[in-house]
């Protein structure tokens, strides 16, 4: 069988005495779009933090393309081809929109700690900046400081930074949270487009979006994955209906 792009084995996280992630095992195939759903406080964001290196796990392992990345720093994990967005926008507020995206591209295009070239005259980077600006619909706001963008534009930039570097595994934490219906549609189209040929794991509350976009879905409840499967399998699952869909699904 093909090596999974992302493999979690018995992942655990305790904050003090409380167990937030309680033994999560999950295997995401390369090229798959995988959604993680679950009620508020289930530990979805914490799971992303463990995968991306923001927190070290209390137990278990994370493997990226078969290589163990457990406990590595976020920068090291990112350099191995995993990038992510944040549920609460996490931008460079005093840099302009285009500079935010340019910075997100510098490492992956190989400029690293270079101090002998002009950052805004790197034609390969500039072309990619333009591409991301167009795709995220932020071309008209390129010179606006990220900190003063509207909420929706900040969300778009958040996704732009995550996808700019061309990482082949992308984690998106509630990319459409707080967006209007039309903005959500546009964002989903964007995500679909930029993740062609890549592996996507996303947390999403909007069931319409999840069933539309995801190849497979995992349901995280109280720090445990209670079911993984295709949209129809999840809809049919008794455990999911009991634990989650029956109540939260209609609420959202």
């Amino acid at each position: 069988m093909k090596e999974p792009a992302l493999a979690l084995t018995d992942l655990r996280k305790d904050f003090g005495k409380t167990s937030i992630i309680r033994g999560v095992s999950l295997s995401v195939v390369a090229g798959e779009r995988h959604a993680i759903i679950g009620p508020n406080g289930a530990g979805k964001s914490t799971l992303f933090h463990l995968i991306s290196g923001r927190f070290p796990p209390s137990g278990g392992t994370v493997a990226l393309h078969g290589h163990d990345i457990t406990g590595l720093k976020p920068s090291a994990i990112n350099r191995r081809g995993l990038s992510r967005s944040f549920q609460v926008s996490n931008l460079f507020p005093r840099l302009s929109v285009s500079e935010n995206i340019r910075c997100a591209l510098l490492w992956s295009t190989g400029y690293r700690y270079c101090f002998w070239r002009w950052a805004d005259r790197l034609s390969d980077v500039s072309a990619k900046v333009e591409d991301v600006l167009t795709r995220t619909g932020l071309s008209g706001r390129r010179d606006v400081l990220a900190g003063v963008l509207s909420y929706a534009d900040q969300r778009a930039l958040e996704i732009g930074i995550a996808i700019a570097g061309g990482a082949d595994v992308v984690l998106l934490d509630e990319p459409t949270a707080g967006m209007s219906h039309s903005e959500t549609r546009r964002t989903i189209d964007l995500i679909r487009e930029v993740t062609i040929g890549k592996t996507l794991v996303m947390v999403e509350h909007d069931m319409g979006v999840v069933f539309d976009l995801a190849d497979r879905i995992s349901v995280l409840v109280y720090g445990e994955i209670i079911a993984t499967g295709t949209a129809s399998e999840i809809r049919a699952s008794k455990a999911v209906q009991d634990a989650y869909l029956g109540t939260a699904g209609t609420a959202h």
């Binding site: 931008l91 460079f92 005093r94 490492w107 101090f115 950052a119």
Partner: protein, 421 residues
């Protein structure tokens, strides 16, 4: 369209004029004391610009930047002395480069300790290093020369283009040359990938990690670059004064460059240039006039922090959009009124401060004090009464002009909004 393109090149034109002015200044003000001051200001500009690589660009508040200026200055003195003993065949002209390299080496050494952290922890470590170096400067006599410092003679070694650095004017042009070169390089640095990432790390070190960068390494590299240019400034100081003492690397010197950079405006590349010029001039002129000059400098710093946190450069930038839109003149009446009332308040407050200083510190000089252009008898209650009255009335008048200024700005901002597409 034309005004737009002028606007785009305005920055370059201003830089060009500033460099031209620096070159012509000795001709315009042909005085020996002025030349001494101009040399000091030139060195200070380079030092303040180097500090802003930390404060403005990388977001690191250092209380110990004079360490790199001072240590490199001492290194430069020893280097020139080696040249003097014919042990090194290099011209003194290029000593600032070696001083810069010494600064960078110390930057690497102490940067490894301090740049793993940012915020308060970084600031505290920088202070600890500064105290450590200041303490060792009193112990290591052979390098620091104890209390009297180390001296040198700059007119040694091989000369380049017939420049022997004997006349002060040659030293001035040496400072201008190295200063312009350093300023251009530091500006260029802000626009390189590393320079951009320094700003990104300042804004959000966490997110920088998730796009592949190690914030510690970005901070360390920035720190080394900053220490390099502080070293260049220290090398220039060594050549200019031919002496270095422990005060050159004291925490007071570090505080001074922090205040200059902040008052000038740390968010703008040219802010520290303005801060270095303004504060140096204040130091140079006020210290002759009043013993309370440090107090006035402190007050200026407090006023900047409270009322103009973006510094002088921030105030300038605030006035540029109305200037371009040709509506700036609407501010003139309210500014004039405010300045008049503010002056009354300032005169009263300064009188009170000076009289206080006089009776508490200079009582042995007798009761008479020269204040502005009049003689004041500090034993007369009337003098105190008048000073208090002027201060209080001045403040109330001044306070009442603030809404006028605010109103004028509202008017201008609404005009600007209407003009915007």
């Amino acid at each position: 369209m034309t005004s737009l393109s002028i606007g785009r090149h305005a920055g370059q034109i201003v830089w060009f004029l500033a460099i031209a002015l620096a070159l012509l200044l000795p001709e315009l003000i042909p005085s020996k004391t002025a030349l001494t001051k101009m040399c000091l200001i030139g060195i200070t500009i380079v030092f303040a610009l180097s500090y802003n690589i930390l404060l403005g660009q990388t977001g690191l508040l250092s209380f110990g930047h004079a360490v790199y200026f001072g240590l490199s200055g001492f290194a430069a003195i020893h280097l020139i002395n080696l040249i003097g003993r014919h042990q090194l065949p290099i011209p003194v002209l290029i000593v600032p480069l070696f001083a810069g390299l010494a600064g960078a080496a110390f930057g690497l050494l102490f940067g490894i300790l301090s740049t793993r952290r940012h915020g308060t922890a970084f600031a505290m470590i920088s202070l600890a290093i500064a105290e450590l170096v200041a303490a060792s400067s009193l112990i290591l006599e052979s390098f620091f020369g104890g209390e009297s410092g180390v001296t040198t003679d700059r007119s040694v070694g091989p000369t380049l283009f017939g420049i022997d650095l004997v006349p002060q004017i040659q030293v001035y042009y040496l400072i201008v040359g190295w200063g312009v070169l350093s300023a251009i390089t530091m500006y260029a640095f802000t626009r390189t990938p590393l320079g951009r990432m320094a700003t990104a790390v300042r804004d959000n070190p966490e997110r920088a990690e998730f796009i592949g960068y190690s914030p510690q390494i970005v901070r360390l590299l920035s720190f080394i670059v900053s220490a390099f240019f502080a070293g260049v400034a220290g090398g220039l100081a060594a050549i200019n004064y031919e002496i270095m003492t422990a005060t050159n690397l004291s925490t007071a010197a570090s505080g001074s460059v922090l205040i200059m950079t902040y008052i000038g405006g740390a968010s703008f590349f040219y802010g520290p240039v303005i801060g270095a010029i303004v504060i140096s001039l204040i130091q140079l002129s006020l210290s002759d006039v009043t013993p309370a000059w440090l107090l006035y400098l402190g007050l200026l710093f407090v006023i900047t922090v409270l009322f103009a946190p973006t510094g002088i450069a921030g105030l300038i930038e605030r006035h540029l959009p109305p200037l371009r839109a040709r509506v700036l003149h609407h501010l003139i009446p309210s500014y004039l009124l405010s300045a008049a009332a503010g002056s009354v308040f300032a005169v009263g407050a300064i009188a009170l401060l000076e009289m206080n200083y006089h009776v508490t510190l200079n009582a042995h000089e007798g009761p008479l004090l020269r204040l502005f252009w009049i003689q004041v008898d500090t034993t007369q209650p009337l003098a105190w009464g008048v000073a208090i009255l002027v201060t209080v009335c001045g403040f109330f008048l001044f306070r009442r002009t603030w809404p006028l200024v605010g109103g004028a700005w509202n008017e201008i901002d609404s005009r600007l909004r209407k003009a915007a597409p």
